[in-house]
Symmetry: none
Subunit: 208 residues, 4 copies
Amino acid sequence: MVAKAKTEGLAQIRRSRTRRVLPAEVRVGDLMSAAAALFIAKGIEATTVNDIVERAGVGKGTFYHYFETKEDVIVALRERFSRDFTAEVAQAVASCPTDDHRARFAAWLRGTVEAYIANYKLHDVVFHEFRPGNRNVKDKEIVLAQLGELLAAGEAAGAWKLPDARTAAIVIFDGMHGVVDDAIAGDQREAEPICRRLSELFSRMLSG
Amino acid sequence: MVAKAKTEGLAQIRRSRTRRVLPAEVRVGDLMSAAAALFIAKGIEATTVNDIVERAGVGKGTFYHYFETKEDVIVALRERFSRDFTAEVAQAVASCPTDDHRARFAAWLRGTVEAYIANYKLHDVVFHEFRPGNRNVKDKEIVLAQLGELLAAGEAAGAWKLPDARTAAIVIFDGMHGVVDDAIAGDQREAEPICRRLSELFSRMLSG
Amino acid sequence: MVAKAKTEGLAQIRRSRTRRVLPAEVRVGDLMSAAAALFIAKGIEATTVNDIVERAGVGKGTFYHYFETKEDVIVALRERFSRDFTAEVAQAVASCPTDDHRARFAAWLRGTVEAYIANYKLHDVVFHEFRPGNRNVKDKEIVLAQLGELLAAGEAAGAWKLPDARTAAIVIFDGMHGVVDDAIAGDQREAEPICRRLSELFSRMLSG
Amino acid sequence: MVAKAKTEGLAQIRRSRTRRVLPAEVRVGDLMSAAAALFIAKGIEATTVNDIVERAGVGKGTFYHYFETKEDVIVALRERFSRDFTAEVAQAVASCPTDDHRARFAAWLRGTVEAYIANYKLHDVVFHEFRPGNRNVKDKEIVLAQLGELLAAGEAAGAWKLPDARTAAIVIFDGMHGVVDDAIAGDQREAEPICRRLSELFSRMLSG
DNA sequence: AATGAATGAGTATTCATTCAT
DNA sequence: AATGAATGAATACTCATTCAT
């Protein structure tokens, strides 16, 4: 019988027949990780909820226990990404003396490039393949705010001078994005040379 | 104007049941324009092939006579967009004296910002809502080449000095993109102030 | 009777909108019976999956929950047919004394002709209107094996003598098929006279 | 442009741009041969009219000049097959003395097996994959008539005795079919051994 | 006679989500 | 909390046939 074969096949994959009760945190984490891996491998659209629960080793209903819709996972993934990303960069910046603004900017650049290189696949998939309303704008805003603050502090301290801080922040951030993408497309995955090239340009901009 | 319907109206009128044989060019143009309008209005996913043929006033088979899949129209639209885009900018640049490199760069920036503002909706939909691997990279390459040439010519003539022309081109192009997007998000749709802010930053970068 | 609806009626009644969870076996059976009835009535190609689920009283998704494609039902139907067919014939043969080989052969012939007459419509549709490479060969093999065994046993016991058992089995089986088809085409649906004519010929072959 | 590429590709395949006017016979023959080759290679359903005209090197309209529908080609192919088949066998039989009935039967068997081995692929596709109304019955009838006549003549001359000529003819013909199919499935494509095995069985049947 | 652009009815299949257990 | 059977709306694509040229 066709149906039997199919059912048995599924059963083989699933680790156990018993229901395991796990802390919600773990379940959510499993689901998100499974989704992330699949999104990267096959793209968001091509990844079905079935794929996700199968990879996470849970029943389909469980998915809908923790997320209202498929989009919810994406949003959650995005938030997690942004949180981790900014935290990492913030830490790198914080390791510099409060008043050495040039160093802080360099640390920001270095941290950003490194974090992006390390996670560009997830970034691409989660930020480019799906754009609901204006949330992603909001996510970008957080990152821009971080950079904007840094730039403003430096200007206040006389480390550099900027005609328009927001414009500069956007050019710096999107410019860095584009250059890293280009490097990756050319199989160049080292942060060092990329940062050097960007530093040169950006310090000109800041020095004015 | 980029990728606008040049042959609409006719299609609207044609509601008759009679079969009309038209030059392939016209048919393809009608279909692409109908698709573009709908993609902008409803998004790519929400636009069905039925919608497209209905708007274009042709039978569904005709669509598949000219395009193998729905994705094909998007690719075609992308190509048309890039072609028109660069042509427009090239024209703007060409109106400047060959040896006035600052002016040529200013013309490039102005032309680019204007063309982008005028067509960002189609651009967004066609370049962001759909990902065919690396074609968009190819499309971007054309635009970057245009800018790269301009920068190289200026440098050769001693108008400015650049450590790395490609990095500069990417930062300028993606930075400009981001700033225009931000302006549009803030309902600011005039090219003038945007160009002024960008000029300031970019001339610093070029002057070194 | 081969492959007849054992669980129909229930499906007919169930027109309610409520979701009913049934044992997989029953669902699969309902779906297969509905498909069989429609295939016989309208042909395979003319029967849509919609027709099937409507007749079975389930949602369309349910169909694809149990079968991967429309062809799968045909394959399943074929398997069920062969299984039921051989079981029926085996039972008829088993009712004869183990050592009366002539009687056993007669029982085989009678059982086969009767089962075929009773189900030739489903047989035709399922085995002739659709060609999946070599599976039907496999299905035929089962039937041939059954007959081959019977012939071999008789020969071993000296009831008859055969130069080549496989050739004989094929001639007997395909010959019987052709003759029954011819009778049915002539609106002759009684097993008795058909068997008599075939017996005459076959016993000559066996007696040598 | 997508459309252009597609059109050009087709143009490449087509040999010439000029319309060649050929005798209708040739055109029909080309079309039938192209169809036969494709039917064998891909199956009837999977072969489109486009495939056929492309392979035949003519425009699509030309197909509909010579055949009313796609089915028409199949019917034509079937008729050609039957005509050639019976003609070949008739010739083989005719080469035997009019009164040597055993020899005539042997010639019939030999001719039939050989013709079938040589053309079973086309036979399968054309007679098994498509069954419109009762035409194929008619085609089979021709073949059966030929054999029936031969059997009747032999009986009249006292060469053998048959209880029911039609039953015998069917068993002989379908039995032979099945045995040849089985041999081919086992990669045995020589007529000689097949005929020997069949002769043995059939002569028993005839001798009674 | 020959062509191939134009047509559109027709259908299998997918997959997010629900809910009975 | 966990499951997975059940659902059905929604859509891209095929291809035999026609007919303007």
